[in-house]
């Protein structure tokens, strides 16, 4: 393999990056052209904004405003502290000026589908903004400076994971970075937010990539995009030629259009040939990846000094008259956007958050857009067929052929049905990225991903139970030990007069004395000597 790569590098020039063949993957119908027909539109300011400030997996929220307070655009409203890998603070800013009306739990357009704490802001329509501090020459900034500016702007991963962008930079500081990869492989059907963004604002994305490259001290920056997006590719090529790309250091790599090509580990493998081991972070292998939307947000945060108060979201589905991409203020509700696109609510079957393969049904149309909401689909009744009745698995192996993690979904299904956790772990259940490719091809229409999610939950609860169990087992065993000890001591108390423990030592020593030195040492040695004598006498008796 390495010989081949050497040959290839000789042929293409030593540093040329080329896309490699990846395992698995599917090519579903993309349904992307509808939302790409029109340009990105900035939404008008809605009267009411519901700004999510809850962290998905716990975390602490520090409110900086009170109910009834008048706030300006870009003003900091709250800081979310997440405790995943070290503490990281993500501030939330006001998307427009207005008055805080209430702070309460509401539904957020987020895959957890749980209620989050939200700040309700009644917009006053003036859109009065704070003075911004643009950094005209970012190349003069230090890595630390850039990271803190990005942190202050509240930029998180716009691709969907929502990992704070500044924290990734912090991880970059811990190991030398060879590749910064800008992920423009928006492989899931329906979603076009990144493609639209690149088509119209490629220069800014490239500048954002430059800034990230500087901040991560990456040796090379690669923008990876699928070869089926000619407009975005042209725009990118143009931008890379332009003056803004001073060092000409970003490279463009076209990758084959295959779902899920945009998945982090798969894309890294495709572009660099490096396979990230399970449990390792890409930065440990000298690679860091950012989404296109994140690069744009970084550009805004540094060059324009603008905090992250909006994002690009695709609105599509057969029920919308004019599907398009919006630059939408965080906190806008889904139904406001649906109405902007002209929806006939009478026909709408369901709303889907995200694409058609990894999306989830939206709990309520009142759900607020958060920083990771990339797509909303207003599906008509006949757009997505009702799931067909599940048939038996015939082990055809189509699922294994398309699995990007090289798992055996058919085996995982069998083990899920028997809840065989050992085998499930052995077969890599937790390496499943839940992309849904196996579901897509399954001729028996088995809801595989849902099954695996259930199994993952089951294993998590079993582990918890086990931990609980072993804790209580320990407690029980200790109690038994204690009871037995007390019994023994009661017996020995009758036998021997207990020596008084020395009081000089602290309580810990006292405890020890109670346990071990209940019979004093002298007494014990006397006892032992007596016993030995008895045995000896008996033996002698026997021998005679």
């Amino acid at each position: 393999m390495s010989a081949l790569r050497q040959l290839a590098s000789k042929f293409f020039g030593s540093d040329t990056v080329f896309a490699r063949r990846t395992v698995g993957g599917i090519q579903p119908l993309p349904f992307k052209e509808d939302s790409l027909r029109s340009r990105i539109m900035s939404t008008p300011i809605p009267q009411q904004l519901t700004i999510p400030i809850g962290a998905a997996d716990g975390g602490e929220i520090t409110l900086l405003v009170d109910i009834g307070e008048q706030v300006s655009k870009y003003q900091k409203l709250a800081v979310i502290s997440i405790f995943t890998e070290g503490v990281s603070d993500v501030p939330v800013h006001a998307p427009t000026s207005g008055v805080i009306t209430s702070i309460e739990n509401s539904i957020v357009a987020d895959h957890s589908q749980q209620q989050q704490l939200c700040i309700n802001l009644a917009a006053d329509g003036h859109d009065e903004a704070l003075q911004l501090e643009p950094q005209s020459n970012y190349s003069l900034l230090s890595r630390v400076n850039i990271a803190s500016l990005i942190r202050d702007a509240g930029v998180i991963g716009m691709g969907g994971a929502g990992f704070p962008a500044a924290d990734k930079l912090r991880l970059c500081g811990e190991s030398a970075i060879e590749f910064l990869i800008i992920n423009a492989a928006e492989c899931e059907p329906y979603i076009t937010a990144d493609e639209a963004l690149l088509r119209e604002r490629a220069e800014k994305v490239v500048v954002g990539a430059e800034i990230l490259k500087q901040a991560s001290a990456a040796r090379r920056c690669i923008i990876a995009i699928e070869d089926t997006k000619p407009d975005a590719i042209d725009a990118l090529k143009q931008a890379l030629k332009s003056e803004m790309n001073l060092d000409q250091t970003c490279e463009l790599v076209l990758i084959p259009s295959k779902y899920p090509a945009g998945s982090e580990r798969q894309l890294i493998k495709c572009v660099t040939g490096i396979e990230i081991a399970t449990g390792q972070h890409p930065t440990e292998n000298g690679i860091v990846m950012y989404n296109v939307g994140t690069a744009y947000a970084v550009y805004e945060a540094i060059v324009e000094g603008k905090p992250c108060v909006s994002r690009f979201t695709t609105l599509c589905g057969q029920e919308l008259k004019t599907p398009k991409n919006f630059e939408v203020l965080i906190g806008t509700t889904a139904d406001f956007l649906f109405e902007l696109c002209g929806i006939e609510t009478s026909n709408k079957q369901k709303s889907i958050l995200g694409g058609s393969l990894m999306g989830s049904e939206l709990g309520s149309d009142k759900a607020a857009i958060c920083k990771t909401t990339n797509c909303l689909i207003a599906a008509s009744a006949d757009e997505f067929q009702a799931p067909q009745a599940e048939q038996a698995c015939i082990r055809c192996g189509f699922c294994a052929d398309v699995c990007p993690s090289k798992l055996l979904p058919q085996q995982l299904l069998a083990f899920s049905k028997t809840a065989d956790t050992t085998q499930l772990l052995e077969h890599g259940l937790f390496d499943c990225i839940e992309c849904g490719a196996c579901d897509y091809v399954c001729p028996s229409h088995i809801p595989l991903v849902s099954t695996y999610k259930e199994s993952k939950k089951l294993i998590a609860t079993r582990r918890q139970d086990l931990e609980h169990g072993s804790y209580w087992q320990q407690r029980f065993q200790f109690r038994q030990y204690r009871v037995k000890k007390e019994k023994d001591q009661a017996v020995s108390r009758k036998v021997a007069v207990p020596a008084k423990p020395t009081l000089a030592a602290g309580p810990a020593v006292k405890q020890q004395n109670k346990k071990t030195d209940f019979i004093s040492k002298e007494q014990a040695s006397l006892d032992i000597a007596a016993a030995v004598a008895r045995v000896k006498a008996r033996r002698d008796e026997k021998n005679q």
């Binding site: 579903p28 399970t278 440990e284 292998n285 058609s356 038996a392």
Partner: protein, 386 residues
């Protein structure tokens, strides 16, 4: 688990089991037509009887198991089993033989183990093997329609029957041969008592390969000397064309991505290599040429249609290759050193035995697992800008 889970993904490729089975049925058609052309209507009558009893047995079992008959029957898996079984049975077998085999396959091998997707063994081949063990004579005589004009068969000094010119073969697709095939399948329909042996050509056994096997070298020489060559008969070309038809059907399945290439490739490659290794022209002619093993027998239908039954085969890619290799070795060794005539059924059943352990131990490496700990990339050479 309910069948209707409203989770992701919402999009589907639109393929279903019924379509896969339908494609399989289409892929079998060229081979069936070739058999029909060369061996007459016997195969069609076999198919008709097998399908009738397969559907009846399937429906009865679904009813007993409280399953929805309509939706389960429409997956066409019973049709595929019936067809594969019917092709394996010698044409001209009586109806009860075919019925017994297919009912055994559907009821015992498939449904008693839990129905579609649960059977550890290939139902069609289990039915065939059961018949072969229980009715060895009936299962080894292949009927080719002919009209006895004069005299009995002559027998040479070694006891090998030789075809005499007095026998006139009927055109395979004539009305007469159809009537004969019907009579063989339904003997009770004949006006008087019929002597089955009159119709069954004991020599025209399954495949040229088997003839090759059964005829000793001296018998072959003797037959040649007396002017009647076993290989001058048309049945050899017939099998060649039948095998090519099944090969085409198999390639169609590969093209349609109903089966993967692993199992057929492994079987054909193994049989070819073994046949080439052991073939010693002149001295031990009994082993047969690789060509005879591939195209003068049931190798093609076995490799593409029978061994690839996904339910009972190994399911991992590396497992499939080993599975094909095991079947290939079994096919060759049973043929050459074993006492059974052709060996697809037993070889596939033996493969079925091995499948679960192959699935457990022949697994592909999971993405991100089992990597050698790579050295960290070189320290950054680009100086950090102030």
């Amino acid at each position: 688990m309910s069948g209707l889970v409203a989770g992701a993904p919402f999009q589907h490729s639109g393929r279903n089991i019924a379509q896969l089975m339908q494609t399989l049925l289409y892929a079998l058609l060229p081979g069936i037509f070739a058999s029909l052309w060369f061996f007459g209507f016997g195969i069609l009558i076999n198919i008709a009887i097998a399908i009738t009893f397969a559907v009846l047995a399937e429906a009865a079992m679904l009813r007993l198991r409280n399953r929805d008959i309509r939706s389960h029957l429409s997956d066409r898996s019973a049709l595929v089993t019936a067809l594969l079984f019917a092709i394996a049975i010698p044409p001209g077998s009586p109806w009860w033989l075919v019925a017994l085999g297919i009912v055994f396959a559907i009821v015992i091998v498939k449904h008693l183990y839990g129905g579609l997707g649960q059977n550890p063994f290939n139902p069609a081949m289990c039915g065939y093997a059961m018949l072969l063990l229980a009715f060895p004579l009936a299962m080894t005589g292949w009927h080719i329609p002919f009209e006895v004009i004069t005299g009995p068969l002559s027998v040479d000094n070694l006891g090998t029957p030789i075809l005499t010119a007095e026998r006139e073969f009927l055109s395979q697709l004539s009305w007469g041969s159809f009537k004969q095939a019907l009579l063989l399948a339904f003997p009770f329909a004949a006006s008087g008592a019929i002597d089955i042996s009159e119709f069954v050509d004991g020599l025209a056994m399954a495949t040229p390969l088997i003839e090759f096997k059964m005829a000793g070298k001296s018998a072959l020489l003797a037959a040649r000397e007396s002017g009647a060559s076993l290989f001058a008969r048309e049945s050899e070309t017939a099998w060649e064309i039948i095998n090519i038809s099944y090969l085409l059907g198999g390639l169609f399945l590969l093209y349609k991505r109903v089966i993967s290439w692993h199992i057929p490739f492994a079987i054909i490659a193994t049989v070819f290599i073994l046949a080439a290794l052991f073939y010693a022209p002149g001295s031990v002619a009994i082993y047969g040429t690789p060509y005879l093993h591939l195209f003068g027998s049931a190798t093609m239908i076995g490799a593409f249609f029978i061994a690839t039954d996904p339910v009972s085969a190994a399911t991992t890619r590396p497992g499939k290759l080993v599975y094909g290799f095991i079947i290939g070795v079994s096919i060759y060794s049973i043929r050459v050193w074993g006492s059974y005539l052709d060996s697809i059924a037993f070889a596939v059943l033996f493969g079925n035995f091995c499948a679960p352990i192959l699935d457990q131990y022949c697994r592909p490496r999971i993405f991100g697992h089992g990597l050698r700990s790579k050295s960290k990339p070189l320290p950054n050479e680009v100086p950090v800008k102030p």
